[in-house]
């Protein structure tokens, strides 16, 4: 891969590899607030808390991107580090206690991957992103009474409120390993095999896309059956 005239050697990694990152700043928690009756609750509307939550998520994305750099870029020409311009920059980075990186990573972070487009280019080529899954998801046409199932209304959908917190780098959302695990297990592929085998990112993305589309088709079928059953009940009741 060539970014800003720097030639980098990259390798593909599993999404689960980037999830286990440690942050050197505590995760924000809502501050306590005492009600008039003396009860103490957590105030989720506190503006500083909400701002910190947003910043924390940005920092986490940066740490995850750093992990992606460290694990996917297997090599680059180390003579770049001998340039005087970089040496001065590195001196300033090294002395700043808030910029805690090794030189190899710092060079990638602050010299090569300085804009979002380049970051996204790397992320999309070494890790499974929702972007890639989406391409396959939209490629198969399935309709419900003439309307695309992806847009058709589901009357009896239930919002359980259960969701996983997305990990976003730049503008790219990383596929949750939980989704990968579900697809692997329901497709009869062992988790180990899914992680270690030589499946390409497109293979995995298409498997996830078809799995989701299949689930959506089932949801519409069940919805249609439910509507029909309600109609029959109404008719017999009348």
């Amino acid at each position: 891969m060539i970014i800003k005239n720097y030639e980098l050697e990259t390798r593909i990694i599993s999404n689960i590899d980037i999830y286990n990152v440690e942050m050197d700043i505590p995760e924000p928690k809502a501050p306590f607030f005492e009600l008039d009756d003396g009860r103490v609750i957590e105030n989720y509307h506190d503006p500083v808390y909400n701002h910190c939550v947003m910043l924390y998520s940005q920092l986490k994305s940066s740490v995850i991107f750093e992990r992606i750099l460290e694990t996917t870029i297997s090599s680059y020409d180390m003579s770049y580090l001998d340039r005087n311009e970089w040496k001065r920059k590195w001196k300033l980075i090294k002395e700043n206690h808030r910029l805690n990186h090794n030189e190899k990573t710092a060079f990638l972070l602050y010299e090569i991957f300085t804009d979002d487009t380049d970051k996204e280019k790397l992320v999309d080529s070494v890790i499974l992103t929702e972007n890639r899954v989406q391409k396959f998801f939209n490629s198969v046409s399935v309709v419900r009474q003439g309307v695309d199932v992806r847009e058709a209304h589901v009357k009896n959908a239930i919002n359980t409120g259960v969701e996983s917190i997305p990990v976003i780098v730049g503008r790219l959302q990383i596929v949750s390993p939980l989704d990968e695990y579900k697809v692997a297990s329901e497709s009869g592929i062992s988790w180990n095999h899914w992680l270690k085998d030589d499946m390409t990112l497109d293979d995995k993305a298409s498997a996830i896309a078809l799995y989701r589309l299949d689930k959506l088709v089932h949801l519409h079928q069940e919805d249609a059956a439910q509507i029909e059953s309600e109609r029959k009940q109404k008719k017999s009741g009348a």
Binding site: I25, P26, E27, P28, K29, A30, P31, F32, D46, V48, Y49, H51, C52, L55, Y56, Q58, L59, S62, L92, I93, E95, N96, R98, L99, L109, Y110, T114
Partner: protein, 165 residues
């Protein structure tokens, strides 16, 4: 209008006094667009791009969170003296961290009198920050002057505005 006597005849004549006006030309100094005058009157030039934007973002975010979150992750009330001291310290180091990258240079150059160096080096509380300065490097010396004399905490808002622009 003036009265002029010609052959004892008084006649009014218009006398035009040709006054030689000296035009005073004031040369207006052309100031660059990136000039910034700090609160203590030092004229500085803002060097856009001196610090990479992702470094600014990382330093700013961490400083904000350090200043506002306690060890347990809950926002500080900001009322205790200790919390206020911590906040002040965080923002002072934040300023130095940003200025260290050479975002400003001195428009009028360094003062000819180098006594400030002596005073600075003799101040014990600056010892750790001064360790980082290479006094043989003219760029470092200029940065040191900017960090400790030219820019003050009152300029914090402007510095943040500049680097976030």
């Amino acid at each position: 209008m003036a009265v002029k006597k010609v052959d004892n005849v008084e006649e009014e004549v218009e006398v035009t006094t040709k006054a030689t006006k000296e035009v005073e030309v004031t040369k207006v100094e052309e100031l660059p667009d990136n000039l910034f005058v700090s609160k203590n009157g030092t004229r500085l030039l803002f060097n856009k791009g001196a610090v990479p934007p992702n470094i600014v973002q990382e330093i700013t975010t961490k400083a904000f969170m350090e200043a506002n979150l306690g060890q347990d992750g809950r926002p500080n009330s900001g009322t205790s003296t200790n919390e206020q001291i911590v906040t002040a310290h965080v923002f002072l180091t934040f300023m130095k961290d940003i200025l260290r990258w050479g975002i400003f240079s001195l428009y009028d150059g360094l003062p000819t009198n180098q006594r400030w160096i002596k005073n600075l080096r003799g101040t014990e509380s600056f010892e750790s920050s001064l360790k980082l300065i290479d006094w043989n490097d003219p760029l470092d010396v200029e940065v040191a002057y900017i960090m400790f004399f030219a820019v003050t905490v009152d300029d914090l808002d402007k510095v943040i505005e500049f680097v976030n622009d």
